[in-house]
């Protein structure tokens, strides 16, 4: 209980010295301070110890520090740029190869499709099928007018009639 109390009081004391004590706590603490000589002594000791920190020598680095720091950063930046360029170059090559491969595959596919579509062996047969089916009839035809007359008579529509 006592330790906890002391810790809280110490925290208040330090916060008071640091100007971090909330206004309501500040006025209570100042009241207590005015009535407690031990606390006042402790506060003075804290303040003196704090002030003693000012006796530490000021650090002064020479001009070479800034220069070498900037050089080091410049070197690092140059390396970064080089790495970025290498990465860009690598990715450009990869894109180029992928594009080339896609084009070759597309060309091959196109060639195969056209080949199948144009030069398929059964395609012409399928196209000529209606003529082949009526080839015997065509053989008896003397001229085109005769055949047209037969067509008008419905001689070539046997399947259609069957369907009906």
């Amino acid at each position: 209980m006592s330790d906890e109390h002391d810790t809280t009081l110490d925290e208040q004391l330090v916060a008071y010295l640091d100007g971090e004590l909330p206004p309501d706590e500040r006025s209570d603490f100042e009241d207590r301070l005015s009535n407690d000589s031990t606390l006042r002594k402790r506060l003075r000791q804290h303040q003196r110890a704090w002030d003693l920190l000012d006796s530490l020598p000021r650090t002064n680095v020479d001009d070479a520090f800034a220069r070498s720091t900037v050089e080091m950063v410049a070197l690092s930046a140059a390396e970064e740029i080089q790495q970025a360029e290498q990465a860009t170059s690598r990715s450009s090559k990869i894109v180029w190869w992928i594009t080339a491969e896609v084009l070759v595959v597309a060309a091959l596919l196109g060639f195969l499709i056209v080949r199948v579509a144009v030069s398929g062996p059964n395609r012409q047969l399928a196209k000529d099928l209606p003529i082949l089916e009526e080839l015997d009839a065509y053989r008896f035809g003397e001229d085109i007018e005769f055949l047209r007359a037969l067509e008008r008579e419905g001689l070539f529509n046997v399947e259609s009639e069957d369907d009906l």
């Binding site: 810790t7 110490d10 925290e11 330090v14 916060a15 010295l17 640091d18 971090e20 002594k41 003075r44 000791q45 804290h46 303040q47 003196r48 110890a49 704090w50 002030d51 003693l52 920190l53 000012d54 006796s55 530490l56 020598p57 000021r58 650090t59 002064n60 680095v61 520090f65 800034a66 070498s68 720091t69 900037v70 080091m72 950063v73 410049a74 690092s76 930046a77």
Partner: protein, 195 residues
């Protein structure tokens, strides 16, 4: 810093010049060796440069700078501790702090001549007292004293809560008071003035 963010090289040099002493000073108190403090300060500036595009103007630059410094110092300490564990057979873990504590104890026991400490001696005593604090207490103390940071800013820099910062600073200042007590007679500093 906004000019640095926009890749202004001159601005970066200005920024280094403006903060180099403050940064090296804090680093020196954390790692105790000047050369290493300068190396670490350069590492901090390098990180600042690399992270320049992430800088938010809302954040106070010094808070951002010392947050990076705190992380760099912490990582270095960890690396050193790991290396020390590996070489545990070759050196004593407390060799760094032992002389400081020994000298402080010697001084406190009254074996030192009872005379006014001159400026250099006083500075050395204060330096030893600070070195006797743990790393977090030292960092908080440096930021409060020499960077005039508020508790909120210290909390942000050291990535901890404001209440934890308040407790940390309280312990740091209480330890400092106890360590320097032998050099203050009834609240008076050895030189007879409060600095």
């Amino acid at each position: 810093m906004l000019r640095v963010r926009d890749d202004d090289a001159m601005a970066f040099e200005e920024l280094v010049q403006r903060y180099q002493n403050r940064l090296v000073s804090v680093m020196e108190h954390l790692v105790r060796r000047r050369e290493q403090a300068e190396d670490l300060a350069q590492e901090v500036f390098l990180r600042v440069y690399r992270a320049r595009k992430n800088y938010e103007p809302q954040a106070k630059f010094s808070t951002w700078l010392f947050t990076i410094a705190n992380n760099v110092a912490r990582n270095t300490k960890r690396s050193l501790a790991r290396r020390r564990e590996v070489n545990v057979g070759n050196e004593n873990r407390d060799t760094e702090s032992a002389p400081a504590l020994e000298q402080m104890a010697l001084a406190a026991s009254g074996l030192m001549p009872a005379r006014q400490l001159d400026k250099t001696e006083r500075a050395e005593m204060v330096r030893l007292a600070i070195e006797s604090l743990n790393e977090r207490q030292r960092m908080a103390l440096m930021l409060a004293k020499f960077e005039n940071m508020s508790y909120v800013e210290i909390a942000e820099t050291m990535e901890m809560s404001v209440q934890a910062t308040k407790s940390l600073l309280c312990r740091a200042r209480e330890n400092l008071r106890e360590l320097l007590q032998p050099y203050m007679q009834d609240g008076e500093s050895p030189s007879g003035n409060s600095g």
